[in-house]
Amino acid sequence: MPADTAAPGPEQAYFDALADGRFMLQHCGACGESVFYPRALCPHCGADALTWREASGRGTVHATSVVRRRPEQGPPYNVALIDLEEGPRMMSRVETVAPEAVRIGMAVTAVVDRSGDDPVVVFHPAGGGA
């Protein structure tokens, strides 16, 4: 195996950390921007000087929808875009409140949910409600 590919790539490294319960973002040492989703090159400046920092977990709901299903397929659920405090935006869902009660501008906090087959970052309303 060539030395420059001996370590897992950023996508694998992200999910490995998530499996350990840690939600990590990349930070660019060249331009200072935070990056999500994880990449090999910074999309802001092209540098490969990306290092990992644990996300603060603080975010704000930027957009929200409720996916409706036929009753036999299960209850409706939330899909939202979350603006992270560090700058990047990610898709997720807001839990512990009714899906239609999720509002644009709502302050939310990240939780790594490891209860399913694959770990996933979800959000709860900030300051309780969890």
């Binding site: 996508e11 999910f15 999500f36 989703y37 930027h62 957009a63 929200t64 929808s65 409720v66 996916v67 409706r68 659920y77 899909v79 939202a80 875009l81 935006r89 990610m90 898709m91 997720s92 869902r93 239609e100 644009i104 501008g105 694959d118 996933v120």
Partner: protein
């Protein structure tokens, strides 16, 4: 103006199998549209030396179609950028003709996805950063963008529904349209909810169907059967793929492709007689009318109120009934183009506009992602 203005003209256009075409393969539908376009132009397959085809089934669309039709092209392109692919192909074909890479270009698309699967087909690898959250794609992505437009500009559900009712009123005058029954704002709001704020009537149809156009030099087009439709301008732009990475959920790259296409054509918004935009969802028409300059950002909802884009309204939009009521076989981009051609040639029967000279056809691909704007004219505008 640019050197490419008028570099090629559309000499033929055809559709086939719009709506439901059970028992027809994708290639049979595409071939039917190709035959219709060649017959329209008065040309034969042997005259074609450039082929452009994207497919949701075949990842080498132009190879597949050329083999099927028995064409050995000098130039071909299968580029896939989603629903705007066919319009991007027109832009590439225009360049290929202008530089001598081919003389007669065929742009074709077809799908049998209504009859085969009954739903929109995706061939992409699931996005590992979005698919865990279960967005119903592509609907939820556009719904998220709509939620943001409503939040920032006060756009209402009723205003979005106006887009669907206007499309349906146009479709009532188009015998090829799939849904032609009357549709009210209440019908849209009370339809089956899919992904808030959208009900099923905010969403495009899933139909079968194919479309094809023939492009050649303006000189050759003048010697053929039908009135030529010159390509006056064209431009493309894209800023993202996934909705999460759209820089501003209320502004598409049409705000860049539109002005560049106008500059090439030497036209302004006021010169455009009719507008055919890719209405995959009701929010699309609202946002594209803003981004293409027909109203200011945020005013699209108010712009479409009170039947303003329905027949007899202030702006002529999507006269075939659009992806919402005419047809939507997976990728719709070639159909607004064909409707613009037919309007400019006077082929549109009951819905024909009086002597239009300049038309805009706009394609959208992905998740509000790839944007292609084409400006077409009559031969008199060259």
């Amino acid at each position: 103006m640019s050197g490419l203005r008028g570099a090629a003209s559309i000499a033929g256009a055809g559709t086939y199998g719009l709506g439901e075409a059970p028992g027809q393969s994708e290639l049979e539908i595409t071939a039917g549209a190709v035959k219709a376009a060649l017959d329209d132009a008065g040309l034969k397959a042997a005259d074609v030396d450039g082929v452009f085809c994207a497919s949701m089934t075949y990842n080498m669309g132009s190879l597949t179609l050329c083999e099927y039709l028995g064409i050995a092209p000098r130039f071909s392109d299968s580029s896939m950028i989603g629903g705007s692919s066919s319009l991007a192909h027109l832009l590439t074909a225009m360049m290929a003709i202008a530089t001598g890479q081919c003389d007669v270009a065929l742009v074709a698309y077809g799908s049998n996805q209504r009859s085969v699967s009954g739903r929109l087909v995706s061939t992409s690898r699931p996005d590992p950063f979005e698919s865990p959250y279960g967005p119903r794609q592509p609907i939820t992505s556009y719904a998220l963008a709509a939620s943001r437009h409503m939040h920032e500009y006060g756009t209402t559900r009723e205003q979005l529904a106006e887009v669907a009712t206007a499309a349906r009123a146009w479709a009532a005058m188009n015998p090829d349209a799939f849904l032609r029954d009357p549709l009210s704002i209440g019908d849209v709001l009370n339809a089956r909810p899919i992904s808030d704020p959208f009900t099923v009537r905010d969403c495009c149809l899933v139909t079968d169907g194919g479309g094809a156009v023939i492009l050649t030099s303006p000189e050759r087009a003048r010697d053929l059967k039908r009135p030529p439709v010159p390509m006056l301008g064209g431009a493309m732009a894209h800023w993202h793929r996934a909705i999460t990475n759209m820089p501003d959920l209320t502004v598409t790259a049409a705000s860049e492709s539109g002005p560049r296409a106008y500059a090439m054509a030497g036209v302004s918004v006021e010169d455009i007689d009719l507008v055919q935009v890719y209405d995959a969802f009701t929010i699309n028409t609202v946002v594209f009318l803003e981004d293409l300059g027909f109203c200011a950002k945020g005013e699209g909802g108010a712009f479409v109120e009170n039947g303003a884009i329905a027949p007899g309204g202030r702006l002529v939009v999507n006269t075939n009934g659009g992806g919402l009521s005419c047809c939507h076989p997976g990728m719709y981009g070639i159909f607004p183009l064909i409707e613009a051609v037919r309007q400019l040639r006077g082929d549109c029967g009951e819905r024909q506009q009086p002597n239009p000279e300049i038309a805009l056809a706009h394609g959208n691909g992905g998740l509000f992602s790839s944007q292609v704007t084409l400006i077409l004219g009559t031969d008199g505008t060259l």
